[in-house]
Symmetry: D2
Subunit: 386 residues, 4 copies
C-alpha cells in the first residue's frame, strides 16, 4: 500500500455540489453508503460564501475548501494527506476542465454524466486519461443496479441467444410545460444548449437508456435514425426523442426518451430479445427481472432471490424482498470505483466482476447525441462516430 | 321494417371458416354472443366435403351450404329468406373477390382484416361500396374493447389536451423460430407474400396497433419511417417492424410490431401523451386504463367502474371487476354492425355512439403497410397515401 | 341418441331472468357462447306482462312462455319437443321449489348459486336429485376459469406438495354505503335475510371464495372460526366476514369476504401454499397464474401459453394473450353441463376432465354459511356439517 | 449545545453486529446514509478476537472496542468524548440487559426489535426509560418508509373516514423447510424459544405487520384470536400465524404472518378500509400507494410525486420514480433519532413530524405475541395487555 493513501477510507474531494445541489448530495450519500470514502476537500461552489458554508456543513476543514477547482487540484496534489479521487458534479459544460485538471494533478476522477459537453472535449479528455494513467469513472448509475448486472450476465452467458431486438425507454414528464421559464430546479440549464450541449432529453436521459442497453447487451448500435422534437414552444433543445437503432450484428432497436410523457417518473425500461429468450426490466420495480426462455413460462428473477446470479449478488446489500433502489445503485458505482482505486494503488487488477462506466462509455454517449442530432436534421441513418 | 328481414335475428352467411379454422369460430362466437345473428348459409371451404361437413356441424341447411362464394351470393340474393349480411373470414388474398360479389348482390359485408391484399383492390372495393350503398364492416376488433372506447372518448373530450406522442406496440413471439416450415397453424400463409400481401408482422399485427392508435387519437399519421426486418433466415416477410410516425398536427409517434419478441403474447399496448395528460393501456389488463392528468396522481379507470364514461359503458356487458376480453370485444363489432344494419333497414341513423371500422380504416391500413415497406426499402420518410 | 332430444342444440328453459335481470342475461350469453343450447321456454317473471314481453324479446314462442314454473315443468315434460334442461336464475329463496319441480318432471337443472336458501332445503333437494337421477349443475362460475382449472390440476399433480395454507379472498365495495335503502340493483334482496338466507357477504361472495378454494385444493375445511360484521348501520346481514379455516389434513387457511372494502371490484383471489410450492391467482388478471416451486424463480403461467396443462387448455377458446374472462368462464360451466347432458342421454360417462359444481358443492356452501354464522355468534371453532 | 456533544456527527456505539452479522451492517449503513452519526465505540462480539477484528475493520479505536457491554457503558459514560447513543443489534434475548445498562449510564439507546424477549423485561425497561429520561428508539423500520408515513397522514386526515377493516400481511418462505437444522443464517436462533421468546413467525415478522398497521391506522387492536402453526416437523415455534383482530372502535382486521408461504419474499402488505376510502400498499412496490376515495377511480400516489403529502416528502431523499427502499427506510429511523437527540440536547422538541417507534410500540408488540400465543392455546379471543 502506498504510504500516502493508507487510511481506512479513500480520501475524496468534490467539485460542485454546494448547498441545494441535488446530484452532489446523491454522490455524497453514494460515497458514504458502503463506508469506503471520506470527503475531505471541495470546491463546492463558484460563489465563495456558498462554497465555505457548504464545506462547513459537510465537515470539510476550512483550509481544504477551495475557491476554484484549479487551486484545489494543485493544493491537494501537494499535500501528504491530499485527496486520492475527486467527484465532479457540476453542470455538463463544466465537466471537462476540472476532470482534466485533476487527472493531470495525478488524482483519479469520478464524473457525473455526460462526460463532457462536446465530443471534441471528450476526445481530448480520453487522451489526458491515457497519458496520465489515472482512473476515470463516469456515473452512469443504472449500471450499478443488481438486475441490470443480472441481465448483462445472462445475455453474455447466452440466456437469450443471439440478440435481435432492443426496446429501450426513458420517459419522464417534468418538462411537459415550460418550467424552465419559472425557475424549476434543474430545468433551466438542462434546456440551455450552452450549458447542456446539443442534446436535451436525448442527452439528459436518452444517454442513460443508451448506456444501459449497451451495458446489458454488450453491443453498441452502429447506426441510428432519430426524430427529435421540442414540443414546448420556445424550448431550444429536444424534449422528446424517437430513435431507431441498427447494430453491426444485425440486431435492431428502438430508443424512446421523453420528458413530456405525462404520468412517467424516471421510467427507464429495457426489453431485450434474442433468438432464444427475452428479458424485461422496469425501473419502478428495479429488483425484479422477467426472463422468458423461448417456449417456456416467463420467470420472475428477483434480486438476491432464486435465479439471481453472481454478478447481481455481488452488488446486493440486503435480502430479496427488501427493496434496494437508486441510492444503492449509485453507491455501487462508488464501491466499484473504490475497489478499483485500491487495486490500482497496489498494482493489481480489481476483483472478478468489478466494472464501472468510463471514458469509452462517455465517448459513446456523445457519439449517440451527435448522431441523433445529425440524423434528425437530415432525416437519414447516421453512423455513430465513437 | 322490410318484409324480407323481419326475423328477430339478422340472417348471416359466412365465407371461409370451415372445420379447424380459428378466426371463423371467433366470428361465430362474436355473432352469437349478443344474440343478434343467425348463421343460415355458408361457403365454408373450397374443399366441398369439408364445406358440407362444416355446414352440417353448424346447423346450416344442406341447400344453403355452397361450393363457392359466387354461387352463394347469387342464390342468397334470390331467396326471400336470404342472408342480409355475410362474414368473410378467408385469408387476406381472398377478401376482395367475395366482398365485391356480395356487395354487388345487395348483401352487407363483415370482413376480417386486412380489407384486401393490395391497395389497388382496396380502392376498387371502396368504389363498389360507394356504388352499392351497402355496409362494409372491417373487424379491427380491438376497437370494440371498452377501454379503447374510453380512451377515444377521453382524447376527443380533451382529457389529454393536444396530442404530442403516441407509443403503440403489438408484440408476439410465435414466429421466433421458422414454424412456417413445420406446419404451424396460421404461420404458413401469414409468411407467404402471395397470400398475405406485402406485410408480415406489419400487416398481421402492425395494422392492429396502427388502427387502434388512430381510433383512439382521432389522428392518422401523415408520414412514417420504417425499418422492417426478417430475423428468421429464409422468411420472406418482415417479422419485426420498427416505425417512427409523424402526424400533420405536429404529434410524433413510435410503432413497434414484432412476432419474435420472446415472452410477449398478443401484447398490444397504447400509450398516448398530450400537453395536459397521458393515457396508458395494455392488452393483458384490458379492462383497466391508466390516466394521468398532468401534475396529478395517476388514476386507474376500470371498465364499468368509477371514471368510466358513456362510450365504454355502452359496450360493457358485466360489472366492473368481472373481466371481459377478446371475444366480448369482437362481439361488440358484431353488435355495432347489427345496430347499423337494423337502422339502415329502416332508413335511420344508428344510435349515438355506434361505431365500427370500415373501408376507410381498411384503406388506411394498406397505406400504412405500403408506406412502411417503401420506407424500409428507401430509408426515408414516406407519406401515407390514403 | 334419444329420439326426443336429437336436435343439434340442447333445448333449454329458464325460470326467472326477465327483462332487466342481470344474471339471467349472463346465463343466456353463457348458454349461447359455445352454441350448445337453444332457449325455447321460460317462466321469466312472476309478473305475467313482463314474462310475456321478455319471452317475445328472447324469441320464445308464446305458448312456451309460462306464468309459473310449475306449469312450465308439467307442460314441457309432456311435449315431444320439451326442454331437456332448465336454468333457475331467481333470487336465493326461490331456488328450491323450481329445482325440485323440474327434477321431478324429469328435466335436468342448472341453478344459480347458492343451491337453496337453507340447509334443510338443500338436503331435501339432494334426496330429490338422488331419487330422480337427473343432473343438477350449480353455477359456481369461477370453477370454469382456465387458470382455476390449471391450479386444481397442478395441486392434484403434486406441484405444491402437501397443502399447508390457503389464503382466499373475495372483496368488493358496492355495499360500502346503505345502497339497499336507495334501491340499488341487487342490493335490496341481498341484504334481506328472508330472501338471501343467513349469509350476507359470506353467502353472496364468501361462498365463491370457499368453493373456489375447495375446487382448487381438493380439500374442504373441517372447522372454521368466523367474525362476521355488519358495518353499515341498520344492515341485517354481514357485509364483511373474517374467517380462519382448519382442514382435516392439518392445513390452515384464512378466508376474507367483504363488500365494504373500498377500491375492490370483485377481487377474488387465491393463494395456496404447500411444502413444495406456492400458487397465486387474482381475478383481475384471470388468465395469469403465478407458480413458485420452492427455491426456484416464480413462473408466470398463462392461459394457453407455455406451462398451461390439459385441464386449462380444454376450456380455453382463444390463444394466449387474448384475454378471456367472466362470460367465458360462465360459458364453460354451460359447456361442461352440455357435454354431461349429451353423455347422459347416451348412457355414457362424460369425457375425461369434464367437471362442474353440483349438489355436493351446494351443501358445502350452505354448511360454510351456517358454520360461519354459528361461529361468529359463539366465538368458537365450529365444525362444518356437510 | 452541550459541550460534550458538539461535533458535527452524533457519536454512536454499537453492541453486537460483529463480522458476518447482517443486521448490524444494516444499522451502520442506516446511520451513515444521512451523515448524522459517527461510529466510535463497540462491543461487537462476545468473542474477543472477533470483536477486535470487527472494530478494526470499522475504524473503531482499539481502546474503544470493549469486551462487554457493561464495560463499554461504564467507560463511554466516563469519557469526555464518549458516545451519546448506542445501537443494540444482538439477538432478542440480549436486548434487555444492554439497553438497561446504557440507559442507566445516561446514554440513549437505539434497539433492534423486538424490544425484549419477554413482557416482564419490557415493563422493567419501560420503568428504566422513564426514570433515566433517556431516549429509546426501537427500529421498527417499516415506519420509516415514505408511503407508510403517507398512509398514516392520510388516515389521520380523514381520507378513508372511520376505520372498518385492516388487512395486514407479512409473508416469507425461507423457513419452508427445516433450515434451522442445516445452519441457515439467522434460522437457528429465530426458531429457538430460549433466544427468540414465545413467538416464531409472529414475533419475527408478525410484529412488523402489527406495528405497521398500528402506525398507519393510529389504532391498536383490543382483542385478537389466533391460530398459530408450526408446519415444519420438530420446529418449536410457529412458522405461520392466522389472526383475527378486533378494535375498540368497532373496526376489525386480519393479520397473516407466514414464513412458509412459498414465493413470498418479505411480502409485507397493508390494506386499510374505512367508510370513505381504501388504501393499499405492498412492500415490493414500496414507493407506490393506491388510494380509492369511495366511488372514485383508484389513484396511484408515488413517493415525492403528485398526491404525496408533507409526512412522506419529509422523509424522501430522491425524486419520484427513482426507487428508495429498505436501507433508506431504516436510515429514516436513524435520522428521526438524530433529530430527536439533537433537540433533546438543546431541551427542545423535535421538529414537526419527527416520529419513531419506542418503548410503547415495543410493549404493544410483546402484548401482541403473548395474546396470540394464549389465544392459539385456548381457541378464544384474548385481550391485548399493553
Amino acid at each position: 500500500m502506498s504510504g500516502k493513501f493508507n487510511s481506512r477510507r479513500i480520501r475524496l474531494g468534490m467539485v460542485g455540489g454546494g448547498q441545494g445541489a441535488f446530484i452532489g448530495n446523491v454522490h455524497r450519500i453514494a460515497a458514504r453508503l458502503d463506508d469506503r470514502y471520506e470527503l475531505v476537500a471541495g470546491a463546492l461552489s463558484s460563489d465563495p460564501a456558498r462554497a465555505a458554508a457548504s464545506a462547513q456543513e459537510l465537515g470539510i476543514a476550512e483550509d481544504r475548501s477551495y475557491a476554484s477547482f484549479n487551486a484545489m487540484a494543485t493544493a491537494e496534489a501537494a499535500r501528504d494527506d491530499g485527496i486520492e479521487v475527486v467527484a465532479i458534479v457540476t453542470p455538463n459544460h463544466l465537466h471537462f476542465a476540472p476532470s482534466k485538471a485533476f487527472l493531470e494533478a495525478g488524482i483519479h476522477v469520478i464524473c457525473d454524466k455526460p462526460v463532457t459537453a462536446t465530443m471534441q472535449e471528450a476526445r481530448e479528455l480520453a487522451t489526458v486519461i491515457e497519458n496520465t494513467g489515472k482512473l476515470f469513472i463516469l456515473t452512469h448509475n443504472y449500471t450499478g443496479y443488481p438486475m441490470i448486472r443480472q441481465m448483462r450476465e445472462m445475455v453474455a452467458g447466452g440466456a437469450i441467444g443471439k440478440l435481435r431486438h432492443v426496446q429501450a425507454e426513458y420517459a419522464q414528464d417534468w418538462l411537459t410545460e415550460a418550467v424552465e421559464a419559472t425557475g424549476a430546479k434543474g430545468a433551466e440549464w438542462r434546456t440551455d444548449p450552452a450549458r447542456s450541449g446539443a442534446g436535451g432529453a436525448i442527452g439528459d436521459i436518452g444517454t442513460h437508456a443508451f448506456n444501459a442497453a449497451a451495458f446489458v447487451t454488450g453491443e453498441t448500435p452502429e447506426r441510428l435514425l432519430a426524430d427529435l422534437t421540442s414540443f414546448v414552444p420556445g424550448r431550444k433543445l429536444d424534449d422528446s426523442a424517437n430513435i431507431l437503432l441498427r447494430y453491426a450484428s444485425g440486431a435492431k432497436g428502438i430508443l424512446w426518451a421523453s420528458q413530456i410523457a405525462v404520468g412517467n417518473e424516471n421510467a427507464l425500461s429495457l426489453r431485450i430479445y434474442g433468438d432464444k429468450g427475452g428479458l424485461e426490466w422496469h425501473h419502478h420495480s428495479c429488483d425484479q427481472l422477467l426472463f422468458t426462455p423461448y417456449g417456456e413460462p416467463t420467470r420472475l428473477i428477483t434480486r438476491n432471490g432464486a435465479g439471481a446470479g453472481a454478478a447481481a449478488n455481488r452488488v446486493s446489500r440486503v435480502p430479496s424482498g427488501h427493496p434496494e433502489g437508486y441510492l444503492e445503485g449509485f453507491a455501487t458505482i462508488y464501491r466499484e470505483a473504490a475497489d478499483t482505486i485500491i487495486a490500482t494503488r497496489e498494482g493489481k487488477k480489481p476483483a472478478e466482476g468489478v466494472t464501472y462506466p468510463g471514458i469509452r462509455e462517455g465517448l459513446a454517449g456523445l457519439a449517440f447525441i451527435d448522431a441523433a442530432v445529425e440524423s434528425s436534421r437530415t432525416s437519414s441513418w447516421v453512423k455513430l462516430d465513437i
